[in-house]
């Protein structure tokens, strides 16, 4: 397992590393998603205001903030899902692997392959468990039947679902429990081997045991993927992430190590929010 501290210099106790929002949001170590001066509009209303942040590779970054602060909008911008809706547009840059993915010439199918997304409600296709995971695989890659079966098995194992479904791969995915369906969606997403996983409130509809399973999964998957997780549950952000970004009214208020944000945030607004003093 990769030691988190190996990625950057360990600050001494007296000089904690402080990442100042909108100035130098660059943690030491590799950046997977470089967001620069991102503005997002729903019609005329601006939902993100000059957001700049470097999301580190192979780590979990949690995005927290009150409803309407822009956290889901940020995820929607990263995978350009907003393009499906009229009147929504993004300005600025989101650089992944050296290319601005907001550029219209950047092929959406490439982006979809690099960036997987899991939503609040499990969204299995009304088909077999096998087809749910295999569908995107056969869409993106030319694979033999046995290769596809291997990849389905790998993905289900990575999503910690294999043992529960291996004997009923041909049964409908709709027969699974909510927690299992959500893990199936994660399996479906990671089957095509994306680089980045976006989880938008992926556990908010699940019971605590299913939630714990997904959190454990996220913890395991961070070695392979760069994960961004939007959550209303601050305990969850504290449990699963290494970095936390706090948004308020479309603005990135503070971005830093999760352990600093939850023990000693720099900004008053962050302190008020995480201690439950937001009026």
């Amino acid at each position: 397992m990769m030691d988190e501290t190996a990625m950057y210099h360990q600050p001494t106790e007296t000089t904690p590393l402080r990442i100042i929002p909108n100035r130098d949001n660059t943690p030491d170590g590799a950046t997977q998603v470089a967001i620069r001066q991102l503005n997002f509009f729903y019609g005329k209303s601006r939902a993100l205001n000059d957001v700049s942040v470097n999301v580190p590779a192979n780590a979990v970054t949690a995005i927290i903030g009150p409803s309407g602060c822009g956290k889901s909008t940020l995820l929607r911008a990263i995978n350009r899902i907003y393009e499906l809706y009229p009147d929504q547009r993004a300005e600025g840059e989101i650089e992944i692997d050296g290319r601005n993915v907001l550029d219209r010439t950047y092929p959406l199918s490439d982006l979809r392959r690099k960036v997987g997304m899991v939503f609040q409600k499990p969204t299995p296709f009304a088909s077999s468990i096998r087809n749910n995971v295999g569908f995107a695989l056969s869409y993106y890659e030319r694979l033999s039947k046995s290769e596809i079966n291997d990849r389905i098995e790998d993905a289900l194992k990575q999503a910690a679902l294999w043992d529960e479904v291996k004997d009923k791969l041909n049964q409908s995915a709709l027969g699974l429990s909510g927690g299992q369906q959500q893990r199936l969606c994660i399996a479906r997403t990671i089957a095509v081997k994306p680089e980045i996983l976006l989880l938008d409130e992926a556990t908010s509809a699940l019971d605590p045991i299913s939630t714990a399973k997904i959190e454990e999964l996220v913890h395991e998957l961070r070695e392979t993927f760069t994960i961004l997780i939007v959550t209303h549950n601050m305990q969850q952000a504290a449990r699963v992430s290494q970095r936390t970004a706090f948004f308020h009214m479309g603005e990135l208020v503070e971005f830093g190590r999760t352990r600093d944000i939850f023990t000693n945030p720099v900004q008053q607004r962050t302190q008020d929010y995480i201690t439950g003093r937001f009026g």
Binding site: M234, F262, T263, N264, P265, Q268, Q271, I274, T275, R277
Partner: protein, 229 residues
């Protein structure tokens, strides 16, 4: 970082306020115990000293009550950032205040054993005790008010307590050498002086905890000693 705003959940504020009140009450009792033990020592008030010894049980009870409430607060409210630091500080401070209460009890226990006429170095002890008890009082005020600057000022007073200890130590040593009849009483007073010196050290430790709780940073040596060391 300010904690001026109230929690959206009022009961959370009540829990934190109750915790501060407990620490404040413990501190008040410990401070009073030191002063009362010293008064009994000077006035050879054996009965009063017994009350100080008995009164320590209340401080012990409050420490347990504080621990219970902190554990409950962490389990039920999941405090974060400044709230979390305050809760942990309350837990640690209660243990230290309990220890300060023990020192006062130790001093009171010596009252019946002193005997004989007062010897001269005794005259320095009340002033030393006044400073040490004052540090306890002020550092707990600093905790209740989340006042890091006040905590720093408390630390800077510890040097005076240490200086008193050194003077008293030398004076008692001289007395013991001059007249072996003084040895028993001098030895007792030496322990009293040592207890007071430890009270000052503990107040300094609490000040460091208060500073961290209030600021999220550790107090540097320059702040602690005011650049005198």
């Amino acid at each position: 970082m300010q904690q001026a705003r109230e929690h959206t959940l009022k009961a959370f504020d009540e829990d934190l306020d109750r915790l501060r009140a407990l620490i404040s009450e413990m501190g008040g009792l410990a401070e009073h115990a030191i002063q009362e033990a010293m008064r009994c020592l000077i006035q050879r008030d054996v009965e009063g000293a017994e009350l100080v010894v008995d009164g320590d049980a209340r401080i012990d009870d409050l420490e347990i009550e504080t621990e219970r409430r902190v554990v409950q607060l962490i389990a039920l409210r999941a405090p974060m950032a400044g709230d979390l630091r305050d809760s942990i500080a309350a837990l640690k401070i209660s243990a230290v205040v309990e220890r300060i209460g023990d020192y006062a009890k130790n001093i009171a226990k010596r009252v019946p054993q002193l005997g004989g006429a007062q010897i001269e170095p005794m005259s320095l002890l009340p002033e030393m005790a006044r400073i040490a008890a004052g540090m306890v009082h002020d550092v707990l005020d600093a905790f209740v008010n989340r006042d890091a600057e006040a905590a720093v000022r408390v630390c800077q007073r510890d040097q005076a307590v240490d200086d008193f200890y050194d003077s008293i130590f030398r004076a008692l040593l001289t007395f013991m050498m001059e007249n072996p009849n003084n040895i028993s009483q001098s030895a007792h007073l030496l322990f009293v002086a040592k207890n007071l010196e430890r009270v000052g050290d503990h107040a300094t430790n609490i000040a460091e905890m208060v500073y961290y709780a209030a600021t999220g940073r550790y107090m540097g040596d320059t702040q602690k000693y005011g650049g005198t060391r």
